[in-house]
């Protein structure tokens, strides 16, 4: 297969599926995708040459009541990066797993997001804690967990003269 340019790839995606996207600069495509049929779309992308899953990121938007997931895929042949952005509900955060397509790398990323954000992935049965031991409480990276207040209560002493500055 000869290498393709980013605009060509975007044109192919728009003709097969009906997704809106843009090419921001050389080698970067950004797409907004819905959750239905997401796993089939990923399987189609892997056949087109996007073999490397670079990262999965999660962003918390409490004001809009939803969490956003961004999947970054890289193709060694076409030298292009495509980013897929998916929105899911925040209270009941569940998403289908992509471990059947990208195996070990997807499993590790989903495990980390499950621990730090509290998002469940159906189909991944290895969602055990990774970094924290005996942690009961809110998932630490959500926006409603204020770190400076938490540290002020648990670790610093308000009566101690030298530590009082950490409370401003």
């Amino acid at each position: 297969m000869a290498a393709k340019e980013a605009l060509e790839i975007l044109g192919k995606i728009s003709s097969e599926f009906n997704f809106k996207g843009e090419v921001r600069r050389k080698g970067r495509i950004w797409l907004d995708t819905p959750t239905e049929g997401f796993v089939d779309f990923c399987r189609w992308l892997k056949e087109q040459g996007f073999e490397h899953l670079s990262a999965i990121s999660a962003i918390d938007w409490p004001g809009e009541g939803m969490c956003e997931l961004a999947y970054h895929l890289w193709s060694y042949l076409d030298k292009t990066l495509i980013t897929l952005k998916v929105k899911i509900d925040r209270q009941n955060a569940v998403m289908k797993s992509v471990t059947e397509i990208w195996d070990g790398s997807a499993e590790a990323h989903e495990r980390e997001i499950h621990e730090l954000f509290g998002i469940k992935f159906e189909g991944n049965n290895n969602l055990t804690p990774l970094f924290l031991e005996d942690w009961e409480g809110l998932p630490p990276f959500r926006k409603d967990f204020n770190w400076r207040e938490y540290v002020g209560e648990k670790y610093y002493d308000r009566d101690n003269e030298r530590e009082r500055v950490y409370y401003d």
Binding site: G27, S54, S57, D60, G104, A108, F131, W147, Y155, D159
Partner: protein
Amino acid sequence: MSARSTMTEIMNASASTTISQSQPATEEGGYDLYFGPAHPGSGNFGVKLKVAGEVVTSARADPGYLHRGFEKLMEYRMPIQNSVLSDRICVLEALNWNLVHAEAVEELMEIEPPERAKYIRVIMAELSRIQSHIIWFGAFCIGTGFETGFKLAFGYRDYILDLFEMITGGRVYPAGYICPGGVRRDFPDGATQKIAQVLDQIRRMLRVEEMENPGLVGRAKGVGILKLQDAIKLGATGPVLRASGLKADVRKDDPYEVYETFDFEVPTREEGDAYARYLVGIEEIRQSAKIIQQALRQLPEGEVIAPKFKRIKLVTKIPEGDVYVRNEVARGEAGMYMVSDGGDKPYRVKIRGPSFLHMIPVLEHLLTGAQIADVPAIYWSLNVCPADLDR
């Protein structure tokens, strides 16, 4: 009041962990072995091994000893404070991570640094890569029992650290020398001559014949073989992937800064064992020295920081948007995904470290079926930095 109660909570909670429990034997007669953080042959990580005789039957990684929650710490600080914090993502290659963060902020604000600043950044990043590969060489020698190699390596590394101190002010942490907009200050007088002298010393180190110790070769050849299909499936990048046969390097495929103007090669090997990874690392030091020489010849005159950042203002608003930046740090492919909502602090920063996937899927796959005595050689040949794994 608060700290004392925390201590009793922590010490009581330790009864529920598996540090001091003895494990029952399995049906085959094997037992559990914890290869943990205080072992002299390991780093800051833990691996739970199930062992039968001398052979490891399964392995499970136990990271998290260094988890600080870096990504959320960056949300409480402004970009100028973040550029000082970004050195500490991985201590062994501080300047490379500085560059990743600076590129992310610049792409969001749509600012180009001047030409001289780009060349200086490339020189500092390549020096940091050489220094990181020297640490890899020294640690690999300790892991396989070649003590002289360790002393050689760290002796030569100090030439580079003295150079860093002369240019940036700090031996290990440059305190945000590469900041959004360019670099903080220009080279002092005599820096370019000193860089040329340091490169001569590095070349002399690579010519020493004692580097090919028969003990090292015997312990590393044929150990920990990673096939190409497994490497791509499990997400390996950088020297680990190149030693398995695929010629992929972010500096050539997705160039950033001024890497298009340099002429260098990307070393690859076919075998995929620990010795192949070691040879790829040594060859990369030579190629980095070649890049620095070309950069010194092509270094233009001019400003070193963009005019918008010339006088340090504390509050700079970042426009709304998101960006994903990819770089090649010494260990593999580094990524940073930054989202901003228009304020003066980033809304979300996600850091993709190369060691995250080298540790959890790749190491567990390689240790299955290996001998206990090979575990340090396999671990050190993957060049894992636990700090950018836990963040």
